[in-house]
């Protein structure tokens, strides 16, 4: 497991998180390349299925990044996203996958540092958890 480089999908809302990611870039703040950003208009657009499919396709972790609480460009999309993340966490628990693989984070558009910090922390957390058990088992099965 030494060489395990997790693949993490980050669904980022256009108005805050995606902008924060750009901001991190323009400030040249590095963060792990493990994090793959998918832009959505609002974190409330992130469907339970999107998160599930990301994991099913092989992501080791998924997080939804939205605006700060009370700051959602679309009023409450971030709160809805949080509820869906919780729903996925409960479902993952039912199928014996660590619910911590899925997470919700919030930040404002100017928080390039926070974006980078979240990317680091989540990457490290997933690195510790190891590969997505579904993907790992399949790879083992294929090897055998």
């Amino acid at each position: 497991m030494k060489d395990f480089e997790p693949v993490i999908v980050a669904f980022c809302c256009h108005y805050c998180a995606y902008t924060a990611a750009d901001m991190a870039g323009s400030k040249r703040i590095a963060y792990p390349a493990n994090v793959k950003i998918i832009r959505v208009p609002c974190s409330g657009k992130v469907d339970t299925i999107h998160i599930m499919k990301a994991l099913e396709n092989g992501a080791d972790g998924v997080y939804v990044a939205g605006c700060l609480e009370g700051d959602c460009h679309f009023k409450n999309g971030n709160l809805r996203a949080l509820q869906r993340v919780k729903q996925v966490q409960a479902l993952l628990e039912e199928i014996c996958i660590e619910p911590e693989r899925v997470e919700m984070v919030t930040m404002s558009a100017g928080m390039g540092e926070r974006f980078a910090k979240a990317a680091f922390e989540i990457t490290e957390k997933i690195r510790k958890l190891g590969p997505n058990p579904s993907k790992a088992a399949m790879e083992k099965a294929k090897a055998a």
């Binding site: 750009d22 323009s26 703040i29 390349a33 208009p41 657009k45 469907d47 999107h50 809805r80």
Partner: protein
């Protein structure tokens, strides 16, 4: 409710095609006016296009400017006249007749495709930068040049016939002649910019003699990827990469050298700091950077933080001194710089590999001549004469000024003035004879008739090609963005990889994809390969999506068939030091975009009618200026002021530095505002709620003595809420009667001159409560206030001893003259450092001020009758926090509103439809506040001139066949848009849909899809990402 511009505006002539002129012309065009943009050069762009990167974002500005350039190039309300100068003007405001003379270009701009064939064959030399290379007969100024055509210097051409034959398009016109045109305009904007001080005559700096001495602009070109060395930093003397570089400030400014201007050029401190940072950023510890300066004048918004970062993060060394000479070591061609410092008596000599002279800005002879033709008055420095309350108005009504020609300044200030000039120019009613080519903006009454009927004729896009049924053919275009992308990853290798990605028809490297040249290339590739989907590997779609959407539109595709992979902002900028990782990520991002674009479908935008009323928040000078500017144009303005009376902070100021009477001007302004039939003043008033989008905002205001609630409908919002006078509890302020602030001193000198008449000693301490940990930025106005008040005290009481204790004297621009005058009049200026701040002790009704005399190095105590603290500004944190929350606006760490782009959009706030003016944006003086307020009014008009609001295509769509009418969308929508229609399924009005997609992700029947973000499109990105695994 619908108030429209009731003034007929004629054309506006904009002289000068730098950023200021471009901004002005664009704002005029966007506001529905027509502009003629004339520039003496071969193409527009001005100085800024020669900069590699700009502060404080350190972006390469070619890319940030170019969208403006091509907007300008394509905008049919702007007539572009390059190689053109003004030779005569007749008439008056409202009806000027201007004669323009256009030199021959020898190239037919319509035919030239800028293929470069002529340049290839006559490659003698190309003038890309001033001074570093020789001149070419065929000259392209820079890759994004507009117009999109070369120009020929026929005098340098030995064989015109051969040259003519080279061009397959027949665009070369050896017989081209100069041409004179007479145009009728209602107003003129002068934006000729400045030229750079030429230090060649200064023997002691060796410019022109020593190969390794440059001007800062030359150094900028060397760093530039499109510069003469292709971005490679090496010494001309031996081709080696330098190890030590020195910057010498104030070359040609502050009257230091022979022939130097006496004013401060304002931008050079930041300019040099940026160059040093960029150098350190790129070369890390391989290159040592030192800046020799007199005062660091980083007084712009957040500039002080940038300066601190340069020192503390990038390790740029700052040395306060005046280097007296640069001497070349003949052996190694190194440069020895000698200087002395205040605190040390000995002469220090340091050796450098390269020296950069921070040369200041001058007004060129050409500009002076133009001013003469125009008949406007100039100040003694050759800049246009203006006044604090009419900061962009020249001495001749109807002629306005913006940018450097008003005073030396940096890009954001120039952008602000550009917008302000547009606003002022548009306010001049057209009085000339009606001419068919004057597209008059109609008044409200008959607006419907003709205002936008003829808009279709401006339509420049070809019809959209119907791609339904076609198998997707994807073209991938990868930008290098100079070093931004190309310096980190190997773009050709990425392109080769893209060709292997399933579904990709072709992949090409396009350099600066945003440049005119690259755009043309992509257009033709799209047509040639019959591409029906496009992926751009470039910068963030947040900034450049529109540009590439327009590009594919020109190529005949629907604008939603392009997808941008953000391989710059989210890849090469992030993983700059890990090229391999960056390359892999770039491939991933492009793969994801290809997979996504495969499923893109053509979409149409939705529109809504525009409410043309304006809400201005804040009734100080800025707010009133914006309100009056818009109301004079016929717009209805709601002006909400928190306090019962208008006037703001300026109501407490008596005089400007230049000696103008502030009080009477402010009173006059209040009078006009209160009585203006188009302005509804609400005071006292507080904002309590807000909703909507640009063109249809609704804001709840409680106002009047009873604080009644009313709901205002408006199309745009201008925030001019100001800042607060800072009043930190330091140096016995509020405790001892002898301790006052500059504001109080100003009042006392004016209202009670007797009280200062007998003062023997007046001590002023600068930077009290500014440039500190709590309030890290510079308050900008305090140095000028100190100089202003010192001069006034000396005038009343010539025997008074006035001592100003300062950290850096920041009397930028022409304020330097007053600083100089104060020194001549005997005002003593003593520098202090943070390690040795002055101390005060109460002494009866006086105060002893103890400070260190830096030259002697001893402590001195002065028994002061008045201790005046320069406390400057502090943001109105509570107000901006509340308003930021209500309006969803971002703020800086120190509580000012954060603009959309610090460089290029300094008046626009990130939330569309919001603009900022005055000290709510950053500390500034009255003159600067008024300019920004006029600019805000101008920017607002660009929105208000539209009759409809474009809502984009990202709206939710319901598939009625799948809908179970469960009402989940009806309940989930934050804006209550969906409803169950008569047919029994959910319906979403695209005009009201905000495009968040919450309904789509909640819908249990998956009957709702958000256009542009459909589920399969989002999942396609995952497929693209995980392709390598599966």
């Amino acid at each position: 409710m619908q108030n429209q511009n009731s003034i007929q505006t004629g054309k506006v002539l904009v002289v000068g095609g730098g950023v200021g002129g471009i901004r002005a012309a664009l704002d005029i065009a966007e506001s529905g006016g027509d502009a003629v943009l004339a520039d003496n050069a071969y193409s527009i762009g001005g100085l800024m296009t020669q900069l590699d990167r700009t502060f404080p974002t350190n972006n390469c500005d070619l890319c940030t400017l170019s969208p403006h350039l091509s907007e300008s190039g394509r905008e049919l309300h702007i007539e572009l006249k390059t190689m053109t100068e003004v030779t005569g003007i007749q008439g008056a405001a409202g009806a000027f007749e201007v004669t323009l003379k256009t030199r021959p270009r020898y190239i037919d701009v319509q035919k030239c495709t800028a293929c470069g064939e002529c340049f290839e064959r006559f490659p003698e030399c190309v003038r890309f930068t001033p001074g570093l290379d020789h001149r070419a007969p065929t000259c392209m100024r820079y890759p994004q040049a507009t117009p999109w055509a070369y120009s020929v210097d026929m005098e340098k051409c030995n064989d015109p016939e051969a040259l003519e034959k080279v061009c397959k398009m027949g665009a070369i016109l050896p017989e081209d002649r100069a041409e004179e045109t007479l145009i009728e305009v209602s107003a003129v904007i002068l934006a000729p910019g400045a030229s750079i001080f030429d230090p060649a005559h200064l023997d002691h700096f060796g410019k022109g003699t020593y190969p390794n001495v440059f001007t800062s602009l030359e150094y900028e070109r060397i760093l530039s990827a499109s510069g003469p060395t292709g971005g490679i930093l090496e010494r001309p003397s031996d081709g080696k990469q330098p190890e030590r570089i020195a910057w010498i400030q104030c070359v040609g400014s502050r009257g230091i050298q022979k022939g130097a201007a006496s004013y401060c050029s304002s931008a050079c401190c930041m300019f040099a700091t940026k160059e040093a940072i960029v150098t350190r950023e790129r070369f890390k510890d391989d290159i040592e950077t030192v800046i020799f300066y007199m005062d660091m004048r980083t007084s712009g918004k957040d500039y002080e933080l940038y300066y601190q970062r340069a020192k503390n993060e990038f390790g740029v060394r700052f040395v306060r001194c005046r280097p007296h000479s640069v001497v070349q070591n003949p052996e190694n061609m190194n440069l020895e710089i000698s200087y002395t410092q205040d605190e040390k008596s000995e002469n220090i000599t340091e050796e450098f590999d390269m020296a950069v002279l921070s040369t200041g800005f001058m007004i060129s002879e050409e500009t002076r001549k133009m001013a003469e033709v125009m008949g406007i008055e100039l100040n003694p420095h050759g800049f246009a004469e203006t006044a604090s309350f009419t900061p962009i108005e020249t001495s001749k009504p109807g002629i306005f000024v913006c940018g450097m020609f008003e005073s030396p300044k940096d890009i954001p200030e120039t952008m602000v003035q550009g917008s302000a000039a547009a606003c002022k120019a548009l306010s001049i009613p057209y009085r000339g004879k009606p001419a068919p080519d004057h597209k008059l903006r109609a008044p409200a009454d008959d607006a419907a008739e003709n205002q936008w009927d003829d808009y279709d004729e401006y339509e420049e896009f070809p019809p959209e090609r119907d791609v339904t049924g076609e198998t997707p053919k994807v073209g991938v275009f990868v930008c290098d963005c100079g070093y931004n992308i190309g310096g980190v990853i190997n773009v050709p290798e990425i392109v080769d990889y893209c060709k292997t990605v399933a579904g990709v028809e072709t992949a090409v490297a396009v350099g600066h994809g945003c440049s005119g040249e690259s755009q043309k290339m992509m257009e033709s590739l799209i047509k040639e390969h019959q591409l029906n989907r496009v992926v751009i590997g470039g910068c963030s779609p947040r900034t450049h999506e529109t540009k590439f959407q327009d590009m594919v539109r020109r190529a005949g595709l629907n604008k939603y068939l392009v997808e941008i992979a953000n391989i710059r902002d989210q890849d090469t900028w992030v993983h700059g030091d890990q090229p391999e990782i960056a390359a892999n990520k770039a491939k991933e991002l492009i793969r994801m975009a290809v997979s996504r674009v495969w499923l893109s479908i053509p979409l149409a935008d939705h529109t809504l009618p525009m409410n043309k009323d304006i809400l201005v928040v804040g009734g100080g000078v800025s707010g009133m200026t914006s309100a009056l500017a818009l109301a004079d144009r016929g717009f209805k303005v709601f002006l909400a002021e928190r306090s019962p009376r208008l006037g703001g902070m300026a109501a407490n100021i008596r005089k400007t530095l230049e000696g103008e009477d502030v009080r009477s001007k402010v009173e006059e302004m209040i009078e006009r505002t209160m009585n203006h039939e188009k302005i509804q003043v609400m005071a006292p008033a507080i904002i309590v709620d807000h909703a909507g989008m640009p063109g249809m905002f609704t804001t709840g205001v409680q106002s009047g003595p009873q604080m009644f609630y009313s709901s205002i409908k408006h199309g745009v919002t201008i925030l001019a809420t100001g800042a607060l006078p800072n009043r930190p509890s330091e140096y016995f302020l509020n405790e001892h009667d002898a301790v006052i602030t500059q504001l109080e001193l100003d009042e006392r000198i004016e209202d009670n001159p007797e009280s200062v008449k007998n003062a023997e000693n007046v001590v002023m301490i600068q930077c009290v409560g500014s440039r500190t940990t709590d309030n890290p930025n510079c308050s900008r106005v305090c140095c000028q206030a100190a100089v202003k008040n010192a001069l006034r005290i000396i005038k009343i009481n010539p025997d008074a001893r006035v001592i100003v204790l300062y950290r850096d004297m920041r009397t930028y621009g022409f304020q330097e003259d007053y600083y100089k005058k104060a020194r001549e009049k005997g005002v003593v200026f003593v520098r202090y450092g943070l390690e040795d701040t002055p101390v005060a002790e109460a002494d009866g009704d006086k105060v002893n001020v103890i400070f260190k005399e830096p030259i002697l190095g001893v402590k001195v105590s002065v028994n002061a009758d008045i201790l005046c603290l320069s406390t400057g500004f502090i943001s109105d944190d509570e107000s901006t926090e509340d308003l930021g929350f209500i309006f969803h606006l971002q703020r800086t760490d120190d509580g000012y509103f954060l603009e959309d782009h610090v460089k290029l959009r300094p008046v626009d706030l990130p939330v569309p439809g919001f603009f900022v003016a005055g000290t709510a944006h950053a500390p500034k003086n009255i003159r600067e506040s008024i300019v920004q307020a006029q600019a805000a009014a101008g920017r607002a008009q660009t929105l208000l001139s539209q009759d409809t609001i474009n809502l984009g295509a990202s709206v939710a769509k319901v598939d009625g066949k799948k809908c179970a009418a469960c009402l989940i969308c009806v309940r989930a929508c934050p804006y209550s848009v969906p409803y169950i229609n008569a047919d029994g399924y959910s319906e979403i009005d695209p005009a009201r849909c905000h495009g968040c997609g919450i309904c789509a992700s909640e819908c249990p029947a998956k009957a709702i899809q958000l256009m542009q973000f459909q589920d399969d499109q989002i999942l396609a990105r995952l497929d693209g990402l995980f392709e390598r695994m599966n």
